[in-house]
Amino acid sequence: MENILLFSPEIILAVTAIVVLFTGLFLKTEHKSVLGYIAVAGVIISMALTLSIMLSMTTASMFYGTMVIDSLSQLFKLIFLSVALLVSIASIKYVSGSRNTEEFYSLMLLAVIGMMVVSSSNDLITLFVGFELAGLATYALVGFEKKNIVLLEASMKYFIIGALSSALILFGMSYVYGMTGTTSIPGIAENASLLAESPIGLAAVVLLIAGFGYKMALVPFHMWAPDTYQGASPVISALLAGASKKMGFIAAFKVIIVALIALSADWRTIFAVLAVITMTLGNVVALTQTSVKRMLAYSSVAQAGYIAMAFVVLTPTALAGGILYIMSHAFMKAGAFIAVGIVGFMVLLGNREARNVDHIDNFKGLAKRMPLTAFSLMVFLFALAGIPATAGFVSKFVLFASTIEAGLVWLAVIAILNSAISLFYYARVVKYMYFMPAEGGRVSEPAPFAVAMIIALAAVLIIGIWPEPFIYWATEAAKVLLI
């Protein structure tokens, strides 16, 4: 008996999305902030349900084996929902006064549903559908401010590269289906020897990596990311970096690690090369950025490089480390983008016509002007750099330690050197915030932004100080990948 209630989190979100959309039609613009609260409530209920399913350790295979419920899927759903929570809280301020609030929230909820479908899917078709649902919704979200030319450009670039990547993924999937005769992920794994013997298998793997690499922002498929992250509004960047990018990882975990494990010798090499190039290029280019948002975008590229190490090492600990990293990164990066959003808000408050609001000069003396934001951003940046007592340290530690354990010392050394480089540009922002004189007076943070930021801050510190349960769940999730 298939228990449809196991998908109640998705159903709740879908209902919320529809309710928000229709309620919005009947509300005046100034009353539309209530939609944000409805969305937040929906996300929270959905989170609670997901958590309860995860804690009960339920596993199920449904809809003729195309969807599964296991600790991996539930953990990723929780990550997506947490980011959605942060983003929807912060957006209460961002979209206030917009005529299209209902569209914003329903698009965001639909994107999250798409991501959740990906994390539950056990079949190439459902996976692709979820992938596209999330993709289409986020394309629209990036271009949400229709009159802002920068946003439209960002959205356009994101969409074109996205369409190309979807084509690559489909192309790769069609090869896989052609060789193995099935779209079911376990089915492919069984017949993967057929793929491994043929050169077409190689082509399929490369196409799939390229397609998913676009979402994961691996070099050289990353080029949309800096432009889009910089152009989009900070809350959307938080959604892209915190959740959408992680969908790329879970999809790659499922299709590449689970289905194509027989070709691991090939794709491990590819990922080794990609990981090294990605982290190095991301960090090196981030060094010279003057826009904090763009710097965060490159740092996000670099972090993808670290996470990709999990594919190379491929031990249970490494995968657990990768998943833990994905979890931590979701909070650190989303938190950092929200903090940057607050700074942008502060700058615009002073001068409505201000441009380049995320320029590093705007962060001068932030500790005096907005102590809470400055402190939180400092914690997020230090977490991204991997300073102890933060989530970033714990996940780096587990991941790098597993790399060394597996004998890939060279890879660990490159990763650690990269971390050292990254500290430079993170610390530079902290220097601007704490050691430069302030220009302008004290500004108080808008409550929704502050609440979202504090939640992210708490998560980063809790994972950093009390990592045991998180490591446990990451390990449980990793077990699903390596049967």
Partner: protein, 671 residues
């Protein structure tokens, strides 16, 4: 509800008070002083209730622990030793905080002061109730940090900033040793478990450490050709930590300089927190010392030597707080000596040593607060400019006299009449005698008895110079407000009575520290591991031995009376630059020259640091700078690839796919 369930509040409340006072103190009454006072008061009440409960039900030792990460835990252990310490620390700290309302009245940065002292107290309470040595070390470091902040409280004064730095760096030497001890301990225990640690076992918990003593005692290492047991090594490294924090020779140099902070901070450091942490560490890990050959002897000699050495310097200081500082060093020497006497008397050593620690906390806090009261009144710390203050400040004078009598150890042996210092110091001197009789090693006893004589001389010198004779001060002295004198009177009552009322039950109570529902050890067995031959029965010392400490104390008083009150000989003739002995003492045995100028400046700084600096600048830096430059310029080149033109991006994706296939093909061909 069980009182143990809220034990975690003991350090937590002052820590919370720290946060609130730091941020909101400015807006609160009296710089937010009341909040720390309330928090520490609550901690005191909880500690007191726990102690009373433990006295009635010795098997209700509180032990709680939660898993932290890997093989470490966070936990609370309140056994008799910890309970007594908690009560004392919170009580003395409470009185000092109340007194500080008056003392710090005119200071503009009061909120910072109260926040930091509150954190200081919280850290010390944390040290005391930790159930594992790692957690203890974390709080231990926090204590060090707070002492740095508080000694340098008036950081605008260069001397205060320098003293804070000195205290921090000197204790750091000990802290490193302590940490090294923990690391060696962990490695040895890991080895003892063969690397397989069962679920729920935390290596660094005190109970687990003590259970592993048998396994550890078999391990040895060779250092400079000498065979040293791991246990001895660990115990001595721990003791190194104690030497730093508790101001034992040769790391005592920071303590007299630590006078640069407010006097209340000195009282807190010298009586309640900080310096007692070292003694507490040794007492806490005493079973390890007992099972470690030679460790206790090192402890005894260092303690005895420090007691005498510091007392000689106390004789000639003119700064009232400096005399008290050397007195603290000397009295800590007694406590450490007492612990070392465990070589002969076993667990009783903890009893006598901690008993002295508690009594010392009362009378030393009192001495400092009296000194603070005097300084508050005359505005100088130089005793040569005081004198005749007894009439103007009667309460201070009387309480100071009581504290002095307690420090010198006045009392009548064989009766219940005596100051608290008498009972505890005598107990230590007596165990030193037992040790001497038992091992024919009389050095600790001689150190102890000579130091007793000097103690009596220097403290009454201080008393007579300050309170008797003619006034040498220009300002008109006045008695301090009652917010300051009431704590003095409370402390005076304790200095006078605590010893007589509690000595027997106290020492018995302490012995239960290692014999209860959480930790139960076979002391005889441990002593055999450490090659110590314990005395079974004692207490029949000759009458002369019982009276000797009192006799030397009275002798000291008489000498001081003749010299500084009656002035039978002209002191200024002795006290002159021509007298080599005086010069040696006044220059504090040239420690500053030897340790700071020669060792620290010449050898470490000029020779090692500067040459390392040269290497670093010329060689390492150019590599680092070069790497930085190359990386930055690479970044500049690479960012140009990001053109913003979407066609280029698409090309990159397709090229990436192509390159990956080529790469894979190559690998397939080559392999």
């Amino acid at each position: 509800m069980n009182i143990g369930d809220i034990a975690f509040l003991i350090p937590l409340l002052p820590a919370l008070a720290f946060v609130v006072t730091l941020f909101f103190g400015k807006k609160m009454y009296s710089g937010g002083a009341l909040l720390p006072i309330g928090a520490i008061g609550a901690s005191f009440i909880i500690s007191l209730l726990i102690t009373i409960n433990l006295l009635q039900n010795p098997d209700q030792v509180i032990h709680q622990s939660v898993h932290w990460f890997a093989v470490f835990n966070l936990g609370i252990l309140i056994d008799p030793l910890a309970a007594v310490m908690l009560t004392m620390v919170s009580f003395v700290s409470l009185l000092i905080h109340i007194y500080a309302i008056g003392y710090m009245e005119h200071d503009p940065s009061k909120p910072r002061y109260f926040a930091e002292t509150s954190l200081f107290t919280a850290a010390m309470l944390g040290v005391v109730l930790s159930d594992n040595i790692l957690q203890m070390f974390i709080f231990w470091e926090l204590v060090g940090l707070c002492s740095y902040l508080l000694i340098g409280f008036w950081y605008q004064k260069p001397s205060a900033a320098a003293a804070a730095k000195k205290a921090f760096l000197t204790t750091r030497v000990g802290d490193i040793m302590f940490l090294a001890g923990i690391i060696i301990l962990f490695a040895s225990m890991f080895q003892a478990f063969n690397g397989e640690i069962p679920e729920g076992v935390y290596l660094l918990q005190f109970s687990e450490m003590f259970n592993s003593i048998d396994a550890l005692s078999g391990m040895t290492a060779t250092i400079f050709g000498m065979e040293v047991g791991h246990l001895t090594l660990i115990a001595l490294l721990f003791f190194g930590g104690a030497v730093g924090k508790s101001g034992q020779f040769p790391l005592h140099v920071w303590l007299p300089d630590a006078m640069e902070g407010p006097t209340t901070v000195s009282a807190l450091i010298h009586a309640a927190t900080m310096v007692t942490a070292g003694v507490y560490l040794v007492a806490r890990t005493f079973p390890m010392f007992l099972a470690a050959p030679d460790a206790l002897l090192v402890v005894a000699y260092i303690g005895g030597f420090t007691a005498l050495f510091a007392a000689t310097m106390g004789l000639v200081m003119n700064d009232i707080k400096r005399v008290l500082a050397y007195s603290t060093v000397s009295q800590l020497g007694y406590m450490v000596l007492g612990l070392g006497m465990g070589a002969a008397v076993g667990l009783e050593a903890i009893g006598v040593s901690v008993f002295h620690l508690i009594n010392h906390a009362f009378f030393k806090a009192l001495l400092f607060l009296c000194a603070g009261s005097v300084i508050h009144a005359v505005g100088t710390q130089d005793m040569r400019q005081m004198g005749g203050l007894g009439k103007a400040m009667p309460v201070t004078a009387v309480t100071m006299l009581i504290a002095s009598l307690a420090l010198a150890g006045f009392g009548i042996p064989g009766t219940a009449v005596g100051t608290s210092g008498f009972f505890s110091k005598d107990a230590i001197i007596e165990t030193a005698f037992v040790f001497g009789e038992h091992t024919h090693d009389w050095i600790p006893y001689i150190f102890a008895i000579l130091a007793a004589l000097l103690t009596s001389i220097y403290i009454f010198r201080l008393f007579f110079m300050t309170f008797s004779g003619k006034s040498r001060s220009k300002t008109k002295a006045h008695e301090s407000p009652s917010i300051m004198t009431v704590p003095l009177m409370i402390l005076a009552a304790f200095s006078l009575l605590f010893g007589a009322l509690t000595i027997k039950p106290f020492i018995n109570f302490m012995e239960q520290t290692f014999e209860n529902n959480v930790i139960s050890l076979n002391i005889e067995h441990l002593a055999t591991l450490g090659n110590y031959n314990l005395v079974q029965e004692h207490g029949h010392e000759p009458l002369l031995i019982l009276w000797l400490p009192v006799i030397v104390a009275v002798a000291g008083l008489v000498i001081s009376y003749l010299l500084y009150y009656k002035q039978v000989i002209d002191i200024s003739k002795v006290v002159s630059r021509q007298n080599p002995v005086y010069r040696l003492l006044y220059n504090r045995y040239y420690q500053h020259r030897i340790l700071t100028e020669l060792l620290a400046t010449r050898i470490v700084y000029e020779t090692i640091s500067l040459s390392a600096d040269f290497f670093d600048r010329k060689f390492i830096d150019s590599i680092v700078d070069g790497t930085g430059k190359v990386t930055m310029s690479t970044g500049n080149v690479l960012r140009r690839i990001q053109t913003g033109v979407i066609q280029n991006y698409v090309t990159a994706v397709i090229a990436g796919v192509g390159l990956l296939i080529v790469l894979l093909k190559l690998i397939v061909e080559v392999l």
